[in-house]
Symmetry: C2
Subunit: 414 residues, 2 copies
């Protein structure tokens, strides 16, 4: 029950505005201290550019990536390394390539999607705006799927894949963007046993936060989607993506894609047309830097030490400012990059606008929904990793004030 | 007039075969000594990952590339840096993206090519197999255009662009692959003033060998295509590509694309959908390594010192073995990566097969033509840069023997 007076909230808001803030919390970017954890990457090769197989990584070739990088990525993708393609610096670009390939060439002999009257993707919401951007750009119609505490509403998914036009679903299965939800075993089992009508339906499994735990001793654990699919003869159903963007350098990591042998064969053949090979020198840097997944996990602990206090601070402020008034609810993730706040219906856009007017840029309200359209105008994604703690505190205090102010305005409580 | 006896040639061939060679001259790859010229790239940053504009190159963002890398690439693309996109390690991938974009989205509001009954590209032949591969993969019909000593036959080009279906032409304007031809001023002026029927016709100007001179004091010079186009209000006609693949690391350089402001705007908008940004750390390495084009040119002199003797050796052997017999003619380039040999009609495939049987892999005969189909079965691409001189000598002696043997076989001179 919200009780604070309009005058009080307005006064607080005016005080923030007077500070002339200029803070950006719009994107899930690691902070400088985080990327600095990997500063030794540049120079790590010490003049030795040979892979374990003695291939010269400086030269052309090997579009699947060097063996040790494939092995490393296989450990986080959780598929055999022979089914792993290591790409450039961007898993989004691998997803984009995959969509474009399906559009232009079709998947495994099926009609290219660009030749079909309609192609639809299932989009668990709220979700990742750049996934939605790929679909929108390709003219793929997006269908909202509600998220539950265990992942996408599987009743809806199972109902909708009966349509031949439904060709895919976006999943961020662990510490989901933005809700921080990790898919339950039941959800993953139901996804892995889907029987979509379209033979070229694919799960786009963007395991972006697979090793991004706040507490290495208490990580969320999810089932291996590939194993679950394979158990049921359904291994062609899924494309799995990950990258080191939020492990080493956000702009200069390595991205990878794993899939069934048949899918992999098709992916590699297409890759060979578009490039002579991705940057193997950077793959070699990463392979030498980490060697194996255990070292990645140890590295992620250092990240957690930097960002966990930021998440804690956000939680604390939300609790202090909004817990009692009933104006918002929010996720309490065990990893990942975001906190998802649901404010009162019809006020999210106004909250973001009020923050912006006072100099704090948030991810735009609606961005977490296809076409930027949050039907409830309620969800706001908080990205706490980039700003320093003092800026984060001011921003979050302002945010909470704006949540209240927008509510008062919206309900004409004057 | 060929006079050598069958017995003599067979005897020589048998002697090569007995050596159990295993040599690969199939691709235009730099040799180890060449890529080693850039070994200082890894480690050059010495912990300073900030661009001149103080942006953190380790982090996300800036899909057009960092300013100093755009400036550097602008100097070799010869367009203003504000119209330059610096990508990942592969200019082929930039071309692939460009084709896919045109297929799926269309160029500047024109119908997406995938919605058209037929799309054609003009392909000067012989040419670069990977260009042809992009077209073939996209289902674009390729039309052979004969090369003259000054570039593509412009009468044919001017005639064919009257067709609405003709949407592009592949050009490697300097030290062309494989002929080593640099386009004449007249050719470039005629290309720049083309009036194609299709508003979305584009020249794909792959200036892959723009700084790849054998003698820096006697480089081939070609007109600036962008300036020529702009002079005639035709600046949207051309997409310009280049990379440092054969300057620094073949597999880990930086690639760039330049175009008119209107084209650039469209390219950048599409790029922002597919990636959050390319590898800016590697862009920064390159910008620090070179600073400017003069240093690139100085660096290319070191390449020339390594590869010029290889080209000289090939020339010498071709001259010694084939000049008098009239069985072949070949290019004498001033730069680039290839020598183009025309053997007697109907014998190129057999020459390559004979070489292969004796352990020397050449670029497959036909590879320099669309669909792998050399209508005369006559052209063979020699790539002398990768093998050491001793291997190159054996390979070329074997090659010349195979040219003779294939001719004798083909003409039943027994």
């Amino acid at each position: 029950m919200f009780m604070e007076s309009l005058q009080n909230v307005q006064k607080k808001y005016a005080a923030f505005k007077a500070q002339g803030l200029k803070l950006d919390m719009s994107r899930g970017k690691p902070c400088s201290e985080q990327v600095a954890l990997s500063d030794d990457l540049d120079g790590i090769l010490k003049g030795n550019y040979l892979s374990q197989a003695s291939e010269d990584c400086r030269n052309y070739g090997n579009p699947a990536g060097i063996a040790e990088a494939r092995e490393l990525c296989a450990q986080i993708l959780e598929v055999p390394s022979s089914q792993v393609l290591v790409g450039g610096n961007s898993s989004l670009n691998l997803m984009s390539d995959t969509i474009k390939r399906a559009m232009l060439k079709g998947i495994m002999g099926n009609t290219p999607w660009c030749k079909l009257p309609k192609v639809k993707f299932l989009c668990p919401v709220p979700g990742y705006d750049r996934h939605f951007g790929l679909c929108e750009d390709a003219g793929i119609e997006m269908v909202n799927i509600p998220m539950t505490s265990g992942g996408p509403d599987m009743n809806e998914v199972e109902r909708l894949v009966k349509s031949e036009a439904v060709k895919g679903i976006w999943c961020v299965p662990k510490y989901s963007n933005p809700d921080g939800i990790s898919y339950s075993d039941e959800t993953i089992k139901r996804l892995a046993t889907l029987k979509p009508t379209a033979a070229d339906f694919r799960i786009f499994w963007d395991n972006a936060y697979c090793v991004h735990h706040f507490d290495i001793n208490k990580p969320d654990k999810i089932l291996n989607i590939y194993d679950e699919c394979a158990k049921h003869g359904n291994e062609d159903l899924v494309y799995i993506f990950a990258s080191t963007s939020k492990v080493t350098f956000a702009g200069a990591g390595i991205a990878a894609m794993g899939a069934s042998p048949a899918n992999f064969k098709e992916i590699l053949a297409a890759t060979k047309v578009q490039t002579i090979g991705f940057d193997k020198v950077n793959q070699l840097r990463h392979a030498r830097f980490f060697c194996n997944k255990d070292n990645i996990l140890a590295h992620m602990e250092k990240h957690a030490q930097i960002i966990k206090p930021k998440f804690d601070l956000v939680m604390q402020i939300l609790e202090e400012e909004l817990a009692d008034c009933g104006l918002a609810s929010w996720s309490k993730p065990n990893g990942g990059y975001f906190i998802s706040v649901f404010v009162k219906e019809g006020t999210a856009k106004r909250v973001c606008a009020l923050c912006q007017e006072s100099g704090v840029t948030l991810t735009g309200a609606g961005a977490t929904y296809p076409y930027g359209d949050d039907p409830d105008d309620s969800n706001i994604r908080i990205a706490p990793t980039f700003p320093p703690l003092d800026e984060l505190e001011i921003s979050m205090r302002l945010f909470c004030t704006c949540v209240k102010l927008a509510y008062i305005e919206n309900n004409n409580i004057f």
